[in-house]
Symmetry: C2
Subunit: 201 residues, 2 copies
């Protein structure tokens, strides 16, 4: 246990709490008071740290993401989709109904299908509604460019999944999805700064 704490850089009480809460699987019992932990425990703890500390997720949401990763009955696609649906960025969903047709038109233009109950549709409509309410609705050209960029990125994301082990692959997908988000947003700002400077010359 103390070795596990060291390797995961988490305090022992936190690890015990995760064990009690079912976020971490138990180790193999070795005698009455000792248990054996392996790489899978270290990896799981690192994943929980990433989700809580870096992505700022609440434990309830972490639990559901982990459940999706661990659920062998789900296909990869379902597991990733299930994890995604818990990661909707904070957008207001109010007044989003008016933007539903635009969202549906955008999805159709890019030949994208979403599950009927996908949260993405609401999240997107909500984000567009916020922009419209502020007097800055994005044009179809802007949305299409974003969609093309998103496609470019997602194809590369999938190409980079090389793990053969299902749990590792699902973990990789979740970690990349979450942790590459700040990377993408920062790169967009860097690119904007540079494009803007170049045009100013």
């Amino acid at each position: 246990m103390s070795e596990l704490a060291q390797r995961s850089e988490l305090p022992v009480p936190t690890i015990k709490y995760y064990l009690r809460e079912g976020l971490l699987h138990h180790g193999e019992a070795v005698g009455a008071t000792r248990a054996k932990y392996d790489d899978s425990h270290v990896r799981r703890l690192r994943l929980i740290r990433a989700l809580t500390e870096v992505a700022g997720m609440r434990l309830d949401d972490v639990r559901r993401v982990l459940a999706a990763i661990d659920d062998e009955s789900l296909t990869w696609h379902e597991a990733i989709g299930s994890a995604h649906s818990r990661l909707a960025p904070p957008v207001k969903a109010s007044e989003s109904d008016a933007e539903r047709p635009r969202v549906d038109a955008l999805l159709a233009r890019h030949d994208w299908e979403l599950a009927e109950q996908s949260r993405h549709r609401d999240a997107l409509a909500g984000a567009l509604a916020s922009l419209a309410a502020l007097g800055h609705p994005p044009s179809d050209e802007v949305l299409d460019t974003y969609a093309e960029a998103a496609t470019l990125i997602s194809e590369r994301d999938l190409d980079s999944v090389r793990e053969t082990d299902r749990a590792e692959a699902a973990e990789h997908a979740v970690v990349s999805t979450l942790l590459l988000e700040p990377v993408l947003l920062i790169l967009r700002r860097v690119a904007q700064e540079n494009s803007s400077r170049r045009r100013a010359k």
Copy 2:
């Protein structure tokens, strides 16, 4: 004042607070107890709402973004850059030093220049360090694809700035930068869901 509250959908005490705090410029005095407010006040209040409610910014940071927009001595580029630097996504900067060379190499490959003290460099190094610590460092191919997508997006973003009024243009840039971030992240997830489903077929 009550008309302003109605048009901005903000309560009167909140507006008075913004006036006291200097976030909103005063109206033209009409008699002892009345003031005249115009479209510029409505627009500013909507911007404050967007920054606080949608982007979740603290008032201190909002104040600095507004100061950048209002500072006539800054060029557009500087104003936008100044606003950007306050919007760094939440990434851990610790252990980021090791990733500095990768960041510099990435910037060089894309012919991007950053101000020496730009927060983007740290933010990016921090995000890469987090991914590396979790055992999922992105490859150069992934980073390059993200950078290309970011360039595609930023060029379109700049194309869409049509306002001739400086304040309006700066406002548009800030609002679009912030509020199109959730749009981009949602589209990336939609695209991933679809790319993943397509490959599973």
